[in-house]
Amino acid sequence: MTLTGYRIRVVRRATLPAWEAALFSLLALVVGLFLFGFVFIFADASPQQAYREIFRYAFFNPNGLRLSLSRFIFLTLCTYAFIVPLRAGEWNIGMTGQLYIGALTGYGVVYLFGGKTSPNVPLSPWVVLPLMIGASMLGGALWGGIAGWLKGRWDVNEIVVTMMLNFIAFWIVSHTIKDGGIFMNPGGRGEGFTLPTSLRAPLIGGVPFTILLVLGLAFGIDLLFRRTSLGYQIRAVGLGPKAARYAGVNVPRISLVVFLLGGAIAGLAAYHYFAAVPGVYKIARDYNTIGDLAFFGIICGLIAQGNALATLPVALLFGGLSIGGRFAQGKLHLGFGVDYALMGVLMIILVAFQFFYRYRLIVDRA
């Protein structure tokens, strides 16, 4: 292409240093925020003011920051639930369903200990909390494992299976918490019973302790893929399935393992959101909105290119934006859905900018 005497060429890149990738993401962010500024202008709000409100609330207001961090934990876990299978070349679109089942199995433990009877039942958190977390992860893992097993054993498309399992899980939850279901709140408001006060998760500066688990997972997953034999086998299946099989990797087993891992992480996200975030402590009536939020894990995972450490800043940004956006929307009386629109636009632009990861523009005189 030639423009006013300059020639613009698109050239494929051979390598991309990490700092350049980070720079392009930052550039994408600036471009995205700039473009979305027009939306604020059309909504009769000043972009500067809107962004100031969003970022100030999300990251500098103590209340907002706590909420942002809770979201960050949730988004990071959903992203990990997506990227572990992704590295084996498999698409987990079922974080939502694994999340729902994880919530049910987690609350199932509370139910078995008699936690449904009253919010004031004294239960030992030292005994019940680990069991809850374990049960949530196990539930998510088994739900994910169905897709992994079907894929590995019979080559059934994992996208279709996980998607369908989402619907099944959705209705199972509904059946359980509404209209006389076993987990129904005695108050009968179409939601799950409330977690006993004795089982509330410990907080660190107002943030659930699950943040430690997330940071541990970040380094754990990074280590898994960089150093371990299992992580190597997963990557081999993702990048060269035939070569992996030739070398003796048990490919069906890897399919199962990545979905068990992904599902378990989604189950942990369920524990976090439904039993550890202050102010929730139950399977809420609108549990589907949090299920939908899990899908952002897919896009965060794609933006982070399947890298566990790169996921952290991405999830933090979008966790903060979702909280700050909702706040600014109320404060500036903006239309419904502006917060999600902002996240959506930024995500699309971030993914679109990955063009520059693979290609370079060269401008010279024709």
Partner: protein, 528 residues
């Protein structure tokens, strides 16, 4: 001189008017191309082609032939250097540009639309086909060109129906119809039958008589150089080693220039010292991917220090035999024993662990992972080996040292063990795969088409490594479509036809004609 954007051929015709015999048509001077990662594919290459001349370019895989060809045809731009056409400096920004300047290209992997007719393929992309096309007039012109060069083409046949030689003729006629004055041909005779080769040589003769210049790029088939070319330029590692008149040289000298050292065309194989039985295959039957019978009651046994040469035309069950032995394909009936142990249903991994090493024919898809580095590719055969994995963690230091030693002993040309495998040339990749598998010191080596597509130097190298494995006491199963290779390396020969081993023949009793007949299904020698 015509401008950069020539709309049609008429200006080119003017440019190419009055070419004198022997005039320099194209001169490339100091062509240099560097690739990211430090590979200098072309290093100050000088090259010229005269009218009425066939000037062959000879080079091994990775010598820079493809890069030079891409530059001459406008697919790549050189970093340094100039191209002159009849003395005028030119720059091709795309293949279309090169075509407009009168460069024609005949690809090894044909660039034709199989479902279209010959005529449609020839007209595709021609300036005349842009507006309203007078098909009958065009057909007459094309037919005239085909006839002029002795090609007997049915213009209305579909390309998928044609033989390789006919497809090549279509590409040649297409280039000539576009007004090519210089014809670049990539491995022109590699897929041709002897009769088709003769026809091609005759066509080339007629082209040179018409003042054209022809540039064949050749890797493997050296004898053709002497039949086809007037001059030959030899490339090695991106540089021009020599340009010689063909009549003043010989095959041995060319091979030496090509590889950079003396090449022995005959590998001397020490006498066999057979040891214990390593592998026994008993009445094995297996199916191919489509469910057809691929192996039909195959039996043989092989001892340590022996090479079994499985000869055959592609698709007669050799590939499935390799996969059955490697554990990649289930056995329907029959048994396989390895060192006395029944491994008929053993997993792929168990077989690696027991000491069976397989080098597959599909090097890029099965034998390696293009997006993995060389270290990671070597890890493919070590991710389970406790010498290299402790507590589930890969020992990167040892794996890297191993990779570096493979790179050194197998003379892999690469800037570092951290480059991705997809950046390697075919021969270098095969060396990495071979080195990786043989570094395990397997007791049974299954080598599926180990030298296919490799240049002389790499072929000899790979064959020597297989004989080294034999000398070290491994049983080797060599699958090859090249009878010379089979006869040179094997102790026992197993010609295969339609899923059966026709007969097991000791190498000293084998001759090329008998085996050739057996793999063609023509003859079954009565049991001795």
């Amino acid at each position: 001189m015509f401008g950069r954007r020539t709309p049609a051929n008429d200006l080119a015709d003017e440019f190419w008017a009055n070419v004198q015999p022997g005039e320099v048509l194209l001169r490339a001077q100091g062509i240099t191309k560097r690739f990211p990662g430090g590979v200098v594919a072309n290093d100050h290459i000088d090259f010229e082609i005269r009218a009425q001349e066939v000037h062959a370019l000879l080079g091994e895989n990775g010598a820079g032939k493809t890069t030079l060809m891409s530059i001459l045809f406008g697919l790549l731009q050189p970093d340094e250097g100039e191209i002159y056409l009849r003395g005028h400096p030119v720059r091709f920004s795309s293949p279309q540009d090169a075509i407009r300047y009168g460069i024609g290209m005949v690809h090894q992997h044909r660039k034709l639309v199989p479902a279209h007719t010959v005529l449609e393929n020839i007209l595709l992309g021609h300036p005349k086909a842009r507006g309203v096309l007078n098909v009958r007039e065009a057909a007459e012109e094309v037919a005239a060109i085909a006839e002029m060069y002795g090609f007997n083409l049915d213009l209305y046949a579909r390309v998928w129906q044609l033989t390789e030689g006919e497809k090549q003729a279509v590409e040649i006629v297409k280039a000539l119809y576009r007004g090519a004055h210089i014809l670049i041909m990539d491995e022109p005779t590699s897929a041709l039958t002897p009769v088709e080769t003769d026809r091609l040589l005759e066509a080339i003769e007629r082209m040179t008589a018409n003042n054209l210049g022809v540039v064949p790029f050749i890797t493997h088939k050296m004898p053709i150089i002497f039949r086809i070319s007037d001059r030959v330029t030899i490339l090695r590692r991106g540089r021009v080693v020599a340009t010689l008149p063909t009549r003043d040289t010989n095959e041995r000298e060319l091979a030496q220039l090509l590889v950079g050292r003396e090449v022995l065309f005959d590998i001397q194989k020490p006498p066999a010292t057979p040891g214990d039985v390593v592998v026994e295959v008993e009445h094995v039957t297996a199916r191919n991917d489509k469910g057809g019978l691929a192996l039909n009651d195959v039996s043989f046994s092989l001892r340590a220090g022996q090479v079994l040469g499985v000869a055959g035309v592609a698709g007669n069950g050799q590939h499935e035999l390799a996969e059955v032995l490697a554990g990649l394909r289930p056995v329907e009936h029959g048994r396989i024993r390895f060192l006395g142990r029944d491994i008929t249903t053993a997993s792929v991994l168990e077989r690696w662990q027991l000491g069976i090493g397989y080098t597959p024919a599909e090097r890029t898809e099965v034998g390696s992972i293009g997006d993995f580095t060389l270290v990671e590719n070597v890890t493919l055969n070590y991710f389970w080996d406790e010498r290299y994995v402790q507590n589930g963690l890969l020992n990167e230091k040892k794996l890297r040292a191993l990779t570096e030693s493979i790179i050194e002993t197998y003379q892999v040309v690469t800037p570092s063990p951290d480059v991705k495998a997809k950046t390697l040339s075919g021969g270098n990749l095969q060396k990495v795969i071979m080195g990786r598998v043989l570094s395990r010191q397997p007791k049974l080596v299954i080598a599926n088409l180990p030298a296919q597509g490799l240049d002389i130097g790499a072929t000899e190298f790979v064959q020597r490594r297989l004989l080294d494995a034999r000398a070290a006491g491994a049983a080797v199963i060599l699958i090859s479509e090249d009878l010379d290779e089979i006869l040179m390396l094997s102790d026992i020969i197993a010609p295969m036809y339609e899923g059966r081993i026709v007969q097991l023949i000791p190498a000293e009793q084998a001759d090329k004609e008998t085996i050739g007949a057996m793999i063609a299904g023509g003859r079954t020698r009565a049991n001795a």
